[in-house]
């Protein structure tokens, strides 16, 4: 019997709320234990899940706290927006704080479109919710026809396990319930509320980016994420999501001109952002419409200024959509950069040819490989040619091995 017998002995009233075993993991008291984070196995950095478990695996276990992830958007901004939403949804589920900045859509709208977490593993702290125990056997016995011996085990795992579980799965077809979403604390920066001034001055900074950086710095100081200031008792992580930096709506003409006037605006913003994050308990995800930026050198320097960088290339609309090689996938994923944090070498992914597919319950990133060539003519032709060369007779074709 797989199920432990001891738990079945106790009456339902005695069974403590959610504990199946009494095993307690031994943790070092000195390390920071913030829900939703875990130390990296490679270098001990505190890691945070990006919301997509296969992306966590690619980036060496997760996003390190204090770093920036750059996502180069695909052509119609559908998949990069999806990853952005996964990142924010993961923050809501792990009860981190959020900071969302956008120009094209109101941050409220973005938060309302977050995907719903698959709930078996998430303990939602609703006041009146009791775990299903076998207090009323008549009702619950009909639930499972074949595996009825497992009915009494609670469906929700213990609270400790669920909050320290790293990486959750989301159902894209459903929207996150308002109760879960409203429990999360978040801050917004909607650019049209800060109207742009005309770019008459030739300063390297742009008004919109300066305002964004100021707002972020103020939130970090006020809410206690700053590592230099004395930290409050209970610590938390701030997840910063910046959507479509560099697009024309931020007032930046990087995407519009080949020789933009504000060449250094975005790069100096990213420099300031990374400096701010290194001294605070925060993680940032930045999306940039790189397919519109003509200057490859500029794109290279933007990549260097962020720690992690991935690029999404979707097949929609390109001629690759009909290519049979790519028929199972929605696009290609390129890992442009992996950081070296407090160590000499970085953990590069093993395979460079990666493709992604957005399924309903998972965003999978897989290695792209050629299917086996099972056509019959391939080997036959080879053998025929070599046979003809060796025998040099007209009946070489009839040799059938």
């Amino acid at each position: 019997m797989a199920a432990p017998v001891s738990s079945v002995d106790k009456t339902p009233a005695e069974c403590s709320a959610l504990n199946v075993t009494s095993f307690q993991k031994k943790t070092r008291s000195k390390s920071i234990s913030i829900p939703g984070t875990r130390p990296s196995v490679q270098n001990g950095q505190l890691l945070v899940s990006s919301g997509v478990t296969s992306l966590d695996y690619l980036l060496g276990g997760g996003l390190a706290v204090g770093t920036v992830l750059l996502i180069e958007e695909d052509r119609y901004d559908s998949f990069s927006r999806m990853i952005f939403k996964y990142f924010l949804a993961e923050g809501v589920v792990c009860r981190h704080e959020l900071f969302v900045a956008a120009t094209q859509d109101d941050p409220d709208d973005i938060l309302q479109e977050l995907p719903a977490p698959i709930l078996d593993d998430v303990a939602i702290h609703r006041p009146g919710d009791q775990p299903r125990m076998s207090c009323e056997p008549q009702d619950t016995l009909d639930a499972m026809k074949i595996a009825w011996r497992y009915q009494n085990l609670p469906k929700v795992q213990s609270a400790l396990a669920s909050s320290s579980r790293f990486g959750h799965y989301y159902d894209v077809s459903k929207i996150m319930e308002p109760e879960i979403r409203q429990a999360a604390k978040w801050h917004r920066f909607y650019h049209p509320e800060h109207p742009p001034l005309s770019s008459g001055t030739h300063s390297p900074k742009l008004e919109s980016y300066s305002a964004l950086l100021k707002s972020l710095r103020e939130v970090i100081r006020r809410e206690g994420f700053d590592l230099n200031a004395p930290l409050p008792k209970s610590r938390n992580i701030l997840r910063v999501g910046l959507h479509s930096l560099g697009s024309a709506l931020w007032g930046d003409d990087l995407c519009c001109h080949d020789n933009p006037k504000n060449v250094h605006a975005l790069t100096s913003f990213l420099y300031g952002l990374r400096a701010l994050l290194r001294s605070s308990l925060a993680v940032a995800v930045v999306t940039v419409p790189s397919h519109l930026i003509q200057d490859r050198a500029l794109m290279g320097s933007i990549t260097r200024l962020c720690d992690n960088a991935i690029a999404l290339e979707s097949f929609k609309g390109s001629e690759r959509e009909t290519n049979p090689l790519y028929k199972d996938y929605h696009g290609l994923l390129h890992v442009r950069q992996v950081p070296r944090l407090n160590c000499l070498a970085s953990q590069l992914p093993d395979h460079k040819d990666l493709a992604f597919k957005l399924k309903r319950k998972q965003f999978t990133i897989e290695r792209l490989h050629l299917p086996p060539d099972l056509s019959e003519t391939v080997s036959r032709v080879g053998k025929g040619e070599s046979a003809a060369a060796a025998c040099a007779s007209s009946s070489a074709k009839h040799l059938d091995f």
Binding site: M1, P137, A248, C256, P289, G317, E321
Partner: protein, 295 residues
């Protein structure tokens, strides 16, 4: 998909028609105007490229009440003192004032002919900002714009296309009076639908959509075939209704009655013990396990 767009079900959207010098998109723009006027909508046209007479040519005169033409063709940069509409008035405040002048009850459809003219004289960031403000609603319900893609760099065209909720790129078709339209629609949830259709516009500005081009054998994303695994087999895998009922009624081997289930689930201590008495046939000799072999 083209006919759906013509019916104007997109509220708060920005439809962008992109043409080039090989095929002029103004006829398609005029058919959109005609369709909107037939639906009794209020249409404001900012005319930069062509004059009022040329734009109204072909439109039925009976529907002219809803059409407000703002003449920016005569003097777009304001060189004389009496210009109707200059290119610098293309901002969210300028347009709001313009729309207030013609007091209407319902939100209007704004047609811009063409955006290329505006982009040459106003910075792309300001144009994008204005379009974004207009899209958010209020006085304007839908925006239809015409853009000539060969007049601008790829970056500018891309930046403006990013704002569009529906995007039609027209090119000449195989026959003389036919055009090929590549349509991309982005829904609110981020889903992108694409289609290619051959169309032709008749004299009265109605658009007939002809068959899809045959040499582009692209499958539509929303018609994926569901492969039925029970088809094409030499044996029968399907169940009739009576068979399904019989299957449900079948008693499973370990399906106990409810009393026995509760007894087992809430059993007392010691129920897990297994008592076993080895009988004569079982060999229990631990020293030589092969003792019973007859070798």
């Amino acid at each position: 998909m083209l006919s759906e767009l013509l019916q104007g079900t997109d509220i708060g959207g920005f439809l962008l028609i992109q043409d080039s010098c090989t095929y002029c998109g103004r006829d398609l723009l005029k058919s959109f105007i005609e369709a909107a006027l037939n639906r009794e909508e209020v249409v404001h046209v900012l005319g930069f490229d062509v004059s009022e007479e040329e734009l109204k040519d072909g439109l039925k005169s009976s529907v002219f009440q809803g059409l407000h033409f703002h003449n920016a063709f005569a003097d777009p940069l304001g060189w004389t003192d009496n210009s109707h509409f200059t290119v610098h008035q293309f901002s969210s405040s300028g347009l709001a004032e313009l729309l207030k002048q013609t007091a209407q009850s319902k939100p209007a459809t704004l047609v811009i002919d063409s955006l290329s003219w505006i982009l040459r004289h106003v910075t792309p960031t300001a144009v994008c900002h204005t379009l974004q403000q207009l899209k958010k609603g209020g006085a304007v319900k839908t925006i239809i714009g015409l853009l000539h893609e060969d007049m601008h760099s790829r970056g500018i065209v891309g930046s403006v296309c990013r704002l569009a909720t529906s995007f039609i790129s027209v090119a000449p078709g195989t026959k003389a009076d036919e055009g090929l339209a590549k349509i991309t629609r982005r829904s609110k949830s981020g889903k992108v639908m694409q289609d290619e259709q051959i169309f032709s516009i008749r004299k009265d500005l109605t658009v007939t959509v002809l068959s899809k081009p045959t040499n582009f054998g692209r499958k539509q994303s929303n018609t994926e075939e569901q492969v039925d695994p029970t088809a094409n087999l030499t044996f029968n895998l399907r169940l009739t209704d009576s068979e399904r009922e019989a299957k449900e009624k079948l008693a499973l081997p370990f399906a106990f009655s409810t009393e026995k289930k509760t007894a087992l689930l809430h059993s007392g201590p010691g129920s897990g013990k297994i008592l076993y008495e080895p009988d004569a046939n079982d060999d229990y000799d631990q020293e030589d396990p092969d003792d019973d072999l007859d070798v």
